[in-house]
Symmetry: D2
Subunit: 178 residues, 4 copies
Amino acid sequence: MFCAIATGAVRASRTAIVTGFTGFTMTPRKFEPRHESYESRVHGSFARQRAMNTIGARIVRVEPGEVELELPFREDLTQQHGFLHAGIVTALVDSACGYAALSLMDRESAVLSVEYKVNLLAPAVGERMRAIGRVIKPGRTLLVCTGEVIAVAGGAESVVTVMQATMMAVRGRPELVD
Amino acid sequence: MFCAIATGAVRASRTAIVTGFTGFTMTPRKFEPRHESYESRVHGSFARQRAMNTIGARIVRVEPGEVELELPFREDLTQQHGFLHAGIVTALVDSACGYAALSLMDRESAVLSVEYKVNLLAPAVGERMRAIGRVIKPGRTLLVCTGEVIAVAGGAESVVTVMQATMMAVRGRPELVD
Amino acid sequence: MFCAIATGAVRASRTAIVTGFTGFTMTPRKFEPRHESYESRVHGSFARQRAMNTIGARIVRVEPGEVELELPFREDLTQQHGFLHAGIVTALVDSACGYAALSLMDRESAVLSVEYKVNLLAPAVGERMRAIGRVIKPGRTLLVCTGEVIAVAGGAESVVTVMQATMMAVRGRPELVD
Amino acid sequence: MFCAIATGAVRASRTAIVTGFTGFTMTPRKFEPRHESYESRVHGSFARQRAMNTIGARIVRVEPGEVELELPFREDLTQQHGFLHAGIVTALVDSACGYAALSLMDRESAVLSVEYKVNLLAPAVGERMRAIGRVIKPGRTLLVCTGEVIAVAGGAESVVTVMQATMMAVRGRPELVD
């Protein structure tokens, strides 16, 4: 078995393909969006994610194929030891990855999460969490992303969670647009 | 590479080992808890998970190695299409799996999520979500769990999310007990 | 984010939807194949998987949505401690899941693995390994599967590996058919 | 739930913690091995992985926390479309990640794979595959790794598979050393 994700969905201006965690082999990939309104589209959709508003997340940055969100620490989102609940952290980085994917889609596609896997590296404590989602494979139907959550505490940053995710461009379902 | 999770942590009264999804090969496994207060311990720890209270989740059932939680649908927890946000659903089933694991641990251990992977099978819509976590491998240090989220809508039930998770029994860190 | 996998690809005769690991809540799902030659198609494709022949795997059983493979233990497939290498076990259960998915596809689709996650529960030792793949969500484009590998040793069986996988029905690429 | 992997196992000389895929936020992390023989230990253990010999893999590079393996393309390791079987590619990158983890362990620990997840980005075709495993979180008991497989075809390189994995340092089991 092996997956050949159909490419061609995104014109890439990269000089080298994206590679592994910490980019130790090749240079990062740059993507070109498929339409000019990619940024406003992400902002508009994010504003409708009521869960993001409920937990207090906001968009920090939208680039083609990469989105950063931020979540101030809140005690009412913790687990039993006082860390942010893993599911809350997952929600944040899922949205970051999903919008990284949406930023590369055509206007007719809506984004849905197919699946993801997270490793929880360290407790999510600090003043705030930065979540960065990034597309590493932009297929026409499936887009593979990686995400990370960085805890900011007293001026220091550390990665507390990493995600590997599959997002889907859903077409022909008008009720799902954006 | 291959993992031999150290067993022996839990005396199991099963007559056959647990098996795959939908149990198509063997009969489910029954576990015996390591102390009598396993149930109250889970309830006490859950009560301190402020994120669960914030989203409105509650415990339905605690058995040795299996925990069920419930979450009424709430519009302020949705994503952009009006479904419950995947991260909220993940938080629910992560807690179900984590407490399924805690129910089998000794008193000296605290539970932490190491990693998990979810597949999102269908939109999480309906009156409420049932999340069931179950231990399938109770090691002394690592406990492997599976979880599912079932949407209840108009009397019908359907599985909307499945999880495969690794939980850790953390010892020697008094600040983390329960 | 949330994935609504387009269903309708498969007519299901089930009386209740499939559920979680060990099926503790509902009864297993039965699928109807989309064409009569589903079984011979799986056998034909499997025969072309040269890696399966190289490691010595064979098909035990093909049902709509469920496939079982078998691999006799071989010392030349072990890791450093004498267990079957995790990657070999993964190859076996990946093929089982992929062919479980293919058994439900129409004639125009080829199957490719999108992604999978395995937990290695115990060393893969014994006379032989049974790998069972099963579809739990048959979408038109994506099919979600679970898999398990059972070690058979001295008449006893134990689950050594579990998989959660996403398979894709690829259309319009004649070079990939079957 | 949240995992606080016990650190302190490895003295790190990094000036900034490792971060996400393609390292877009921080600089890569450098590790110091815990003993001088880390490299020969990896080579010795790899030589006992008979599965690696059977498929024709070899070690290209061993650094503290990072290992690269290589696999020439072989038709007897393919799936039904002529690509390298996903399980074979997984075996390769699992070994790369496992030995990246072993390179940071003390002499008393053996390495076992706990779990991993792969995304298959593109068909594994070409003259050879490079698999790079890298530790991103070196805990005392659990080490989290990322891996990638790069296909080399006609002088061009492309990432065909990415992995996120959890490895375990197993102590007190003399039969598993190395």
